[in-house]
């Protein structure tokens, strides 16, 4: 069980190892807070869809498994979407279309097909938690890199908290705008992937 959880974070890390679910990872990580928000949404969907699919794994017919997976996943995604719109509207606006797009996040369908359809519920939930947390950590780190370099602040929450001032005023006014533009996403992800693989190889 514990191993399943840890594997989800490290050995099967969605972004850094499997390199899936990159689209939201690149698009929403302009700030650390956005990264956490997106990660939380994915954890919720992943845990519940894994649980349900695993519980129903003996009933779901093999031929129709993909449409059933999609229905289950999109149900949870829609629940997350509505809930976020209602209770954290600013975050929901920031993440925009990438919340509904979790439906087609291949990471989630991949776990349904590759893991929870073949494993008992408690393992599947652990796998969902692990994979989701691994995804969240990477998004948070990417958001951190991009926000600090691109805006000079860290952990800002729109309308609530202006963020910790990492560098002085002078930096904020002439920050590395590139980092919050799309290329910044690729740079951040490359940096993290390189670092991650380096550490794993020399362990």
């Amino acid at each position: 069980m514990k191993q399943t959880f840890l594997d989800g974070i490290i050995k099967n890390n969605m972004v850094l190892v499997l390199a899936i679910g990159l689209c939201p990872a690149l698009a929403v990580t302009t700030s650390a807070y956005n990264g956490i928000g997106m990660g939380m949404a994915v954890i919720f969907v992943l845990v519940f869809s894994n649980l349900l699919i695993s519980l129903l794994r003996n009933i779901i017919p093999k031929n129709l498994r993909i449409p059933i997976f999609i229905i289950i996943i999109s149900t949870f995604v829609t629940i997350v979407d509505y809930t976020m719109q209602a209770y954290v509207p600013p975050l929901s606006r920031q993440l925009g279309v990438f919340v509904p797009l979790i439906v087609v996040n291949c990471g989630i369908l991949g776990r349904a097909e590759g893991y929870s359809y073949k494993h008992p519920p408690h393992y599947s939930v652990m796998d969902g938690l692990g994979i989701g947390l691994g995804f969240t950590i990477v998004l948070f780190l990417m958001g951190t890199i991009r926000e600090i370099l691109g805006q000079g602040v860290w952990l800002s929450i729109p309308g609530v908290f202006p963020g910790f001032q990492v560098f002085g005023e002078a930096f904020t006014n002439s920050s590395v705008i590139l980092m919050i533009l799309p290329p910044g996403g690729f740079l951040a992800i490359a940096l993290l992937m390189g670092l991650f693989n380096h550490i794993r190889r020399h362990k």
Binding site: T30, L56, I59, I60, P61, N63, L64, P67, I68, I71, I72, S74, T75, T78, I79, Y82, T83, Q85, A86, Y87, P89, R93, G150, P158, S175, I177, I180, L181
Partner: protein, 310 residues
């Protein structure tokens, strides 16, 4: 065969359960979502027209509001969009009764200009420049000799679009500052045509006019999507002619269906019809609701204006 039925029923049950679950979530989150939206809207309107004693009356959703202090019209707030560098820039603009801009507000939501460059249109210093300007001054410096707006360095397209959105919106909506006609004055030409003379006497403002040998009244009926305006000329109990607001004049019924009623052919069906026989006029197929709206407008206008005032 039996196997297939089983497989499909599993899919069916999953879909049904999902639908129930979602309708439950939808029902419970919808009021919260709507409340937030109306709260944000109200906050934005107050930011564009900072006066705690006014109330806003929606003329057109998300586009134009009239601002009243008590009974008096003290200004308008409008929202007008213009394509920026990579998204639509839609400032919310408060205008006082003299036609000068009070304040503008460019919300970040839905805006996807370049961060750090075009996104600077959301900054306070840029938006404050608009305060107090009249129509002719809302240009970038250099774009027009009277221009009073400093553009944003390296974001000319975004600043030009924001400025143009304010200017063009003001030009388009400033007519709402005059008088109480919410619907604008789409019927002016038609009024002359229906009354047969140019100098009509206004008996009730924007509702009832008297010409040489007839009365003309304006009435609205609730159509399929929107209010449908009808201008009716009448003598005693007989409708002489009608004119139905057409899409060019702001009617917003379903294109191709409801809008068909605004044709000369349909309008002529009402020529010389006794007011009690209005319901007998044939409706157009595909536009039943809109035809009903027209008939209702004719009848209610007659009862309210003609019967009441005679």
């Amino acid at each position: 065969m039996k196997n297939k039925v089983r497989e499909v029923s599993v899919l069916f049950i999953v879909a049904i359960v999902s639908a129930f679950l979602l309708s439950f979530v939808y029902k419970n989150t919808k009021p919260v979502i709507e409340e937030y939206a109306s709260k944000t809207l109200n906050e934005n309107l107050l930011k564009a027209f900072p006066d705690s004693q006014v109330h806003f009356e929606t003329v057109k959703n998300d586009t134009i509001w009239k601002v009243y202090k008590g009974e008096a019209l003290v200004g308008i707030v409008f929202r007008n969009g213009r394509q920026g560098y990579s998204s639509l820039i839609r400032p919310i603009v408060g205008v006082d009764s003299t036609g000068r801009v009070i304040k503008i507000l460019i919300p970040k939501e839905g805006l996807a200009e370049t961060p750090g460059l075009g996104m600077k249109v959301t900054e306070v210093w840029f938006q404050e420049q608009f305060s107090g300007l009249a129509l002719g001054e809302i240009w970038l410096r250099g774009g027009n000799e009277n221009g009073k707006i400093d553009g944003i360095t390296a974001a000319t397209i975004s600043s030009r679009a924001a400025t143009a959105a304010v200017r063009e919106g003001l030009e388009k909506f400033k007519c709402y500052l005059q008088g109480g006609v919410i619907e604008g004055e789409w019927y002016v030409d038609d009024l002359i045509q229906l009354s047969g003379v140019e100098d009509v006497e206004e008996l009730i403002e924007d509702r009832l006019w008297k010409a040489k040998d007839r009365f003309v009244y304006l009435s609205y009926g609730e159509g399929f999507i929107s209010q449908v305006g009808v201008l009716v000329s009448i003598w005693k109990d007989t409708v002489l002619a009608i004119h139905i607001q057409c899409p060019e004049e702001g009617m917003e019924e379903t294109p191709g269906y409801g809008t068909m009623v605004a044709s000369i052919e349909f309008e002529s069906r009402f020529d010389n019809v006794y007011i009690g026989d209005i319901d007998k006029v044939d409706a157009l197929s595909g536009a039943t609701m809109t035809c009903e709206a027209v008939k209702k407008a004719i009848k209610s206008g007659y009862e309210e204006l003609m019967v009441g005032s005679e």
